[in-house]
């Protein structure tokens, strides 16, 4: 079977993101970039499905500027067989991303698409659900456990009430939650090997994707700052402080 995995290049999760003074965006010059953590989990899950004995070709796909090749090379080093970059310097919002992925999914004849449940830059949590809609196939979102048998996935989903288990027929879209797995570390020899794996660059125009409507960001502002930092000496002082704030 063929598994497509989304790999988004984002500001690394450890960076404390700063809003630009002029409100036009966030500071990204010279900031550490990486693979969206949920997407690493997506790729790891694809690799594990294969390692558990299912024959599978695993294709990593990304949308964004030429620099995304770095993240795709990492994905190849982790174990993806080949990579597709739909190169664009536009801001790609979830509906557009879903339309592009849908084209790739049709071209590749995918059986399973695994995406992160959200990207830690725009925190939208939409692309997987949208792709499933356009493809008119099932979605199993926020997955923390996946079992695979006879063209059916049994997926445990992290929901507000606890854990929900659903069964979906392939082809399907899966989106990952953090507890699905712990991604492997890339080893040096694998990085070398990844250099010779195929990485194809495409243009959105070539795919014939109709441009999706967009949200227009008119201003970026830092969140209201909490003024914390006060410490008390001991438990009685803590109780007094709580009373003072009218909490007790």
């Amino acid at each position: 079977m063929k598994i497509l995995v989304g790999i988004k290049r984002v500001i690394d999760f450890s960076v404390r993101v700063q809003v630009k003074k002029d409100g036009t965006g966030v500071v990204s010059d010279g900031v550490k970039m990486g693979i969206n953590p949920f997407d690493e989990i997506a790729l790891e899950e694809a690799l594990r499905i294969r390692e558990r004995g299912t024959q599978a070709e695993i294709v990593a796909m990304s949308i964004g500027p030429a620099d995304c090749q770095q993240q795709l090379r990492t994905a190849l080093a982790m174990g993806a067989d080949r990579a597709l970059l739909v190169q664009s310097t536009d801001t790609i919002q979830p509906l557009m991303a879903a339309r592009i992925f849908h084209e790739l999914v049709k071209r590749e004849n995918a059986d399973l698409v695994i995406l992160g449940k959200q990207a830690i830059d725009d925190d939208s949590n939409q692309t997987g659900q949208m792709l499933a809609a356009l493809w008119d196939r099932p979605q199993a979102t926020f997955a923390s456990k996946v079992e695979f048998k006879d063209k059916t996935l049994t997926v445990t989903r992290e929901v507000d009430a606890g854990l929900e288990v659903i069964a979906v027929d392939l082809p399907a879209v899966l989106t990952t939650d953090l507890r699905l797995n712990t991604p492997r570390f890339v080893k040096m020899p694998d990085i070398m090997k990844a250099r010779s794996k195929p990485l194809q660059v495409l243009k959105p125009e070539e795919l014939g994707v109709i441009t999706a409507p967009k949200l227009e960001a008119t201003n970026y502002a830092p969140p209201p700052q909490r003024v914390g930092g006060k410490k008390v000496e001991d438990v009685p002082a803590l109780i007094r402080a709580l009373k003072q704030r009218g909490v007790l």
Binding site: I11, R16, V17, Q18, P94, L95, M96, A98, K117, D121, D122, D123, S124, N125, Q126, T127, Q129, A132, A133, P138, Q139, T141, F142, S144, V159, D160, A161, G162, L163, E164, V165, I166, A167, V168, D169, L178, P213, K214, L215, E216, A217, T218, N219, Y220, A221, P223, R226, G228, G229, K230, K231, D234, V235, A237, L238, I239, L242, R245, V247, L248
Partner: protein, 314 residues
Amino acid sequence: MNRILVIAEHDGKKLNPATAKAVSCASAVGGEIDVAVFAANASAMAAAAAKLKGVKRVLKIERAENVHQLAAVLTPQIVKLAAGYTHVLAPSTTFGKDVLPRAAAFLGVQQVSDVMKVIDATTFERPMYAGNAIVTVKVPPSPCIVATVRTASWQACSEDGNAEITAVSTDAVIPSHTRFVELKADVSDRPDLQSAPRVVSGGRGVGSKENFAVIYKFADKLGAAVGASRAAVDAGFVPNDLQVGQTGKIIAPELYVAVGISGAIQHLTGIKDARTIVAINKDPDAPIFQVADIGLVGDLFKILPELEKELDKI
């Protein structure tokens, strides 16, 4: 005039309090508000929704398939129902996050996630980068606006309304490719984490599942709900539905007590709207102290029993 459709969230028995928050957001947009209840038997939830202030009509969409709130089942019906509405809203809970983008894509609409504030009927504020940036977005109004509502940013509307309840049917075709198997939910008589006025959360510092008893005990004393950091959930101390943060629950209690939690950005995202944050941590340099209104440095296993004793005196 705006016509707003709010998708109700429920568990088949009761309306989820997040629905009343989504209605507050709808009122901020302004216009005629309808609430849609998809269920096998919607009576109880429809009656509760009819009380939500500002709601004009409650639409009951009763169908055997609607017994479980599966995105694949609900979206074809939402898409049919959406015709004629300017806005379709749902709470930004795991339910709304699952269902609404699927509907938005069918409608050809770029969804707005996690609306914190309504500037006008087509302009909203939403968080990005784990809440480190608040972005104002202008949304194309046609064919309609689809948005999820960040519940921690909204108060529940009052319940003195009296909307009319109408049964509605759609001719939507429901796929069979997605099937509900089971819900594993911990039944607890403790307050609900998402709506409780007081929350006590434990982190990796609590050390083990057994040790978490001290958190539960202290929470019970305060009448508080229990939460946790991702590290505590990952380590198996507590179930996943207790996770607070960027990828867990975003909450806004009156009082939040963080015990043995370091205060990673992703955790803080979930508690920014808490009125008072208390931190108990043995490391005086833990980042949680920078946001805490009241910090106490020390060993949680000493401090919590002492606190309980002091609380008994009040």
